[in-house]
């Protein structure tokens, strides 16, 4: 009452806010067998889930299969979803498992995710060239997407998956650790290493003075 605000046009909610608002309603409807509600959820997340499975598997065919299996499993096990986390977080965990199964099948010698790995040197990298403001604006959106996909694909899978969950899907450290069966220190250590490696790889595109 007596609010000094005069705002004839209500602020437009961000897409993420819209998701949070109606997601529980859609999930409840899907749980009761409403296929259309589930398809709405699929339509909302299919691009993100495909990017996730594609980044993990680095193979379009495997990524597509993993995405399909993830959505199907999600529907079949929706009854067991308690709503303690966001539906999307739960879906991400399913998709990660599907993608990792594909990756392991194709690359049986892959280092186990829970294996101790050498995280390399323990000193800060030497770097003198800055990127300047908004270096990503030098590229068209699709070109930037392709650069990001390429550089993340160059990472070792055990770093790539952790980075994907923490910094792209924005899961917490605890959620990432739980989804991957890793300890929290292992998640933190791999995440830092992944971030520094990606930074170094992006140097060639974003450093001041060109992209060679």
């Amino acid at each position: 009452m007596g609010s000094p605000k005069v705002s004839p046009v209500p602020p437009t909610p961000l897409p993420s806010q819209v998701v949070k608002d109606d997601e529980p309603i859609l999930v409840a409807a899907a749980k009761s067998g409403d296929i259309a509600a589930f398809e709405t959820l699929v339509g909302r997340y299919e691009r993100k889930i495909f990017r996730l499975t594609n980044n993990i598997t680095q193979n379009k065919e495997d990524a597509e299969d993993a995405m399909q299996e993830a959505f199907l499993k999600a529907f079949e096990h929706l009854g067991g979803f308690q709503g303690n986390s966001r539906f999307y977080t739960w879906l991400v965990r399913i998709a990660v498992n599907q993608a990792l199964m594909k990756l392991r099948r194709r690359r049986p010698n892959l280092v186990s995710l829970d294996e101790e790995i050498d995280t390399g040197e323990d000193t800060i990298p030497r770097e003198v060239e800055d990127w300047g403001p908004s270096p990503e604006e030098r590229y068209e959106q699709t070109e930037l997407g392709s650069i990001l996909s390429d550089v993340i694909g160059e990472l070792d899978p055990s770093f790539r998956v952790v980075f994907q969950l923490r910094d792209i899907e924005e899961l917490s450290t605890e959620e990432t650790a739980e989804a991957l069966g890793l300890s929290i220190p292992a998640v933190k250590s791999r995440l830092l290493r992944a971030r520094l490696k990606l930074r170094q790889k992006l140097n060639r595109y974003f450093q001041r003075g060109g992209n060679s």
């Binding site: 699929v42 030497r126 770097e127 830092l192």
Partner: protein, 79 residues
């Protein structure tokens, strides 16, 4: 604090999970050390670029295969 000390705390610093006193120490080091400043700033920018990146649209054939597979299996599960 020296460069090596900063590196040891960098994970928590980037995630803003450090206690304030340690954070101040790091920021004092960053104000003096150009190398660490560049590395930290560009690492923050790396995270931001990935975090803000929008997934591209699904290829249409991929999308069609997904929805047709879903339709088949979902109706079977429901039956």
């Amino acid at each position: 604090m020296k460069c090596k000390g900063l590196f040891a705390e960098l994970a928590d610093y980037l995630d803003e999970m450090l206690d304030p006193a340690l954070r101040v120490e790091i920021e004092e080091h960053l104000a003096k050390c150009k190398n660490c400043r560049v590395v930290v700033n560009t690492t923050k920018k790396t995270i931001e670029i990935f975090c803000n990146s929008e997934p591209v649209a699904l290829p249409e054939d991929t999308r069609q295969r997904l929805h047709s597979a879903l339709e088949k299996r979902l109706r079977r599960v429901q039956a």
